[in-house]
Amino acid sequence: MEIRLGSILLAAALLSGCGWFHRGEQPQNQVVAEEPPGEPSVIEPQVNRREVKTPKVKAKDLEIGAYFGALSIQDFGVNPVYGARLAYHVSEDIFLEGFLGTSKAGTTSLEDVFPDITVVSNAGRQFTYYDLDLGYNVLPGEVFLGRGRAFNSQLYVTVGMGDVKFAEKDQFALNFGVGERLLITDWLALHMDVRDHVFETSLTGRTKNVDNIEATLGLTTFF
């Protein structure tokens, strides 16, 4: 009885061992069985697929930066201005841009001649604006510095609208600008801009449209 049990166990172990040993061949046997005679057998590779992750390409269509310059506030003299800008480049020609800037107005000639007269309160002299602009790269090209260096550049025009807060009142303003973007590297750009903020005011007596032209120099990065 013991011998019989032992041999059964041995046979089972052998069988399972053979099974283990021939595990790789089992599908092959099955395939052969199903295939019509004469055709060669197909070996299915037992290799796990490697998960390949393709890195994403980073889009650097946004441009952020700061600028500094001079703003001529009509009737209030020329004053320093500074601000921040953010642009999104839609295509190689078109971009959308937002500006946020501030300046402090000087005095009018009237106030200079008659020091007792105040046209605008001291707090009201703060000139703050935001613009939403549509820009177009009119003249893309290269500029050369000496023999060996070339920088990409774009001359662009912008048109837009926004708010000018002056004399403690918000005014609807239209903006017209022209600028040059000089790419020092592919991600760092120098800007030279001239922009006009036009709005209607009656601060100096009669109601009129005033042109507030600013000339600025800025630095932006693409990200």
């Binding site: 390409v57 980073k58 774009q154």
Partner: protein, 244 residues
């Protein structure tokens, strides 16, 4: 303002450092006879290098329709989107250079425009999320400049596009709620300085090119006030938007 400017400059400096850090980049094999690399991301910039068939390029980043790539010898230049799209990955699969987002099934929209609100000049900016192809949720922030007051209006609402598959012109209708804040009041201006409002809108939208689109909207607002009288406002606006 000064603080904002300082933080912008700080971000610029930080970004400059970050861009130096090594990144995991996509490598592609040129399958067409050659791939032209331009000196800048624009059609007019001269070709400065040509990568031959079966050579590798590393894609650094993109700007609008252009991709900055690096050739095996370290030469860098800008390749056009459609030319780079015909290269392949190491596995032989086509390069995963995404096409423009489909206008009909786009999800996000960012736009700005001009309008007239209660006979006042209006500057408007909005973000729009497409829940389905025909139903959008929109959030709008706008500023109205009047002769007797200035208003800031914020609104959220839902909009239905009747025929989203009509690419160039499809009518829309919407409803929503809004809040207006009235400032800089001159004597005949409203007595209240803020109101809750509700609106209905009719409009249209259309595709322009690439990822550009336009929108026109007419809105009728009902103002909830404590003045014991019915007050309503009208608004129309036109805007340009970018979709993703």
């Amino acid at each position: 303002m000064r603080r904002l400017l300082a933080s912008v400059l700080l971000l610029q400096a930080l970004y400059a450092n970050l861009s130096i850090a090594a990144e995991h980049l996509m490598s592609l094999v040129v399958t067409q006879p050659y791939l032209e690399l331009h000196s800048g991301p624009g059609r007019g910039y001269p070709v400065v290098y040509v990568v031959g068939r079966d050579e590798w390029v590393t894609v650094l980043y993109s700007r609008t329709d252009w991709y900055k790539v690096r050739a095996p010898n370290g030469q860098e230049g800008w390749a056009r989107r459609d030319e780079l799209a015909s290269t392949v990955l190491a596995s032989g699969e086509p390069a995963p250079i995404p096409p423009y987002p489909d206008f009909v099934s786009h999800t996000w929209e960012l736009g700005a425009g001009y309008g007239v609100y209660n006979r006042e000049n209006l500057v408007t900016a909005y973000a729009d999320y497409g829940i389905t192809e025909s139903i959008d949720a929109e959030a709008v922030l706008q500023q109205a400049f009047g002769t007797i007051d200035n208003r800031v209006i914020a609104s959220i609402g839902l909009r239905h596009t009747f025929l989203p598959e009509w690419k160039w012109f499809s009518p829309t209708a919407g409803i929503g709620t809004a809040y207006q804040h009235i400032a800089d009041k001159a004597p005949p201006a409203p007595l209240e300085s803020s109101n809750q409002m509700a609106y209905v809108s009719l409009g249209a939208r259309g595709f322009i090119t690439r990822r550009f689109m336009w929108r026109a909207d007419w809105r009728h607002y009902v103002v909830f006030n404590n003045l014991n009288r019915y007050e309503d406002l009208e608004e129309w606006k036109f805007g340009l938007a970018v979709f993703f």
